[in-house]
């Protein structure tokens, strides 16, 4: 087209938006930057929320930690909606093939009944843990401050629903799509004594309204312990007895958790580094929830792994301690 040729030489008057240029200079900006920074409304709010009259619609006082700039909580994956959903679609494509393979080859259905029962007892109830995580991350995306952290939490909310549904599919793989395993697993979650302490802590966390405390408790503490115990330690033990079939279908969960950890670290670290009072506060949260979830996991760890469960949990806890140190916190694990 003639127009295109003629305008080749036109130089742009500016390279990006004003607020992006003030942060990063007037140069070409990434889609992550333009789609993220400063897009949450900050001032001149109109009405007091009927559901929280003491605070504004968006309000930095909804957490006890304080940041000069909440946009310091950059997502290292640089996910905006498009890049996130395209990445997940691609992963889901691979997962679909794994699941099809597992269904065709009856990777779980062909296991001995005791092994299938072990999966339903040990793993399928976690769909409810994931639903709790979905609830908690949704709180962050609803009441957090600054799009950098709230959009990532929004994606994590959906990711957790995806994980809950993936775990449900494991149940369906084991029960031949009858759904019986889901019914049994829910019963374990709500009534079996080994599971009750974990459910108790999930409910306690769902009642917590400080959104940054929720990030620390859910994604840093609870997820590290739960994913480590069930999808790593239990899976290793199970594989050694029944072959790698289960690992194949748990792959999505463990990869997702590895990816998510990068985000979690990038969110917690700058908040801890911001001030001594933040560090003290995050430390208190980490310690409190670490004790709570560790003790809550003790019966189910032994329920699914026997005496080895205790060592498995100890090993995961040691790793968590090392991670806390990396984030600028102290490892009070020995005292726990």
């Amino acid at each position: 087209m003639t127009v295109e040729i003629r305008v080749q030489a036109v130089k742009p008057l500016r390279n990006t938006f004003g607020h992006i240029a003030r942060r990063f200079g007037d140069k070409a900006a990434s889609r992550y930057q333009e789609g993220t920074y400063d897009i949450q409304s900050e001032v001149n709010h109109h009405y007091k929320p009927l559901w929280d009259p003491e605070r504004d619609l968006y309000d930095q006082r909804r957490t006890a930690v304080v940041m000069k700039d909440w946009y310091a909580l950059k997502d290292p994956r640089q996910y905006y909606y498009g890049s996130w959903t395209i990445a997940r679609a691609k992963q889901q494509d691979a997962v679909d093939r794994q699941m099809e393979f597992a269904e065709k080859k009856e990777l779980l259905r062909s296991l001995p009944e005791a092994a299938r029962k072990a999966i339903v007892f040990a793993l399928v109830p976690l769909r409810h843990f994931e639903w709790g995580a979905n609830t908690n991350l949704c709180l962050v995306s609803a009441y957090g401050w600054g799009t950098a952290v709230t959009q990532a939490a929004s994606m994590a909310t959906m990711d957790r629903l995806g994980m809950a549904q993936h775990i449900s599919r494991l149940g369906l793989l084991a029960d031949g799509n009858s759904g019986e395993s889901l019914v049994q697993a829910k019963h374990f979650w709500t009534d079996h004594s080994d599971w009750q302490p974990l459910r108790r802590e999930v409910e306690n966390l769902m009642a917590c309204r400080d959104w940054f405390e929720v990030i620390v408790a859910q994604t840093l503490i609870a997820d590290s312990l739960v994913y480590g115990l069930f999808f790593n330690q239990f899976d290793s033990k199970f594989s050694s007895e029944h072959g790698p079939g289960l690992s194949t279908v748990l792959d999505f969960l463990t990869r997702w958790h590895d990816e998510s950890n990068k985000w979690v670290d990038a969110v917690v670290k700058p908040v801890v580094a911001e001030s001594e009072s933040n560090r003290t506060q995050v430390q208190a949260w980490a310690d409190h929830w670490r004790i709570a979830f560790l003790s809550a996991l003790s019966p189910i760890a032994q329920g699914i792994m026997g005496p080895a469960g205790r060592d498995a949990l100890a090993e995961i806890n040691t790793k968590l301690g090392a991670r806390l140190v990396k984030l600028g916190l102290q490892d009070h694990g020995a005292a726990l």
Binding site: Y47, K48, L50, W51, D52, P53
Partner: protein, 120 residues
């Protein structure tokens, strides 16, 4: 009717009370049948300002561009205040005329009904 909130006692701040205007009060003025001014205007004025000064000093700066403005015969102009008929005393202040903060006044100018026969 009243609002339903999560706790009793919900109430927004009164955002525009008079003490926030640094000694002024707001008045709203509209000139009927003169839609060249597409909306009534809102201005801050000292409550002590005589009504006559509003007419002579303020209104020309607002409405002076309309060809009808210079033809107004103020002796027949009709005012209303808050929807009620109102006869201002020119030598009295805005306040003494009973024009309170955020009052809405409308001016009618009989015989002058804007341009094009449609109140423009």
């Amino acid at each position: 009717m009243s609002v339903n909130a999560i706790r009793p006692g919900y109430h927004g701040d009164m955002k525009d009370t008079i003490e926030k205007f640094h000694g002024n009060q707001l008045i709203n003025i509209g000139w009927d049948k003169h839609l060249m001014y597409a909306t009534p205007v809102c201005i801050p004025v000292p409550p002590q300002m005589p009504f006559g000064a509003l007419l002579q000093q303020v209104l020309p700066t607002i409405y002076g561009q309309h060809p009808d403005f210079e033809k107004i015969d103020w002796s027949v102009a009709i005012w209303s205040l808050g929807g009620e008929p109102f006869t201002p005393a020119l030598d009295k202040s805005i306040a003494d005329n009973g024009i309170t903060h955020k009052a809405s006044m409308r001016l009618r100018t009989p015989g002058l009904d804007g341009l094009a026969g449609v109140g423009f």
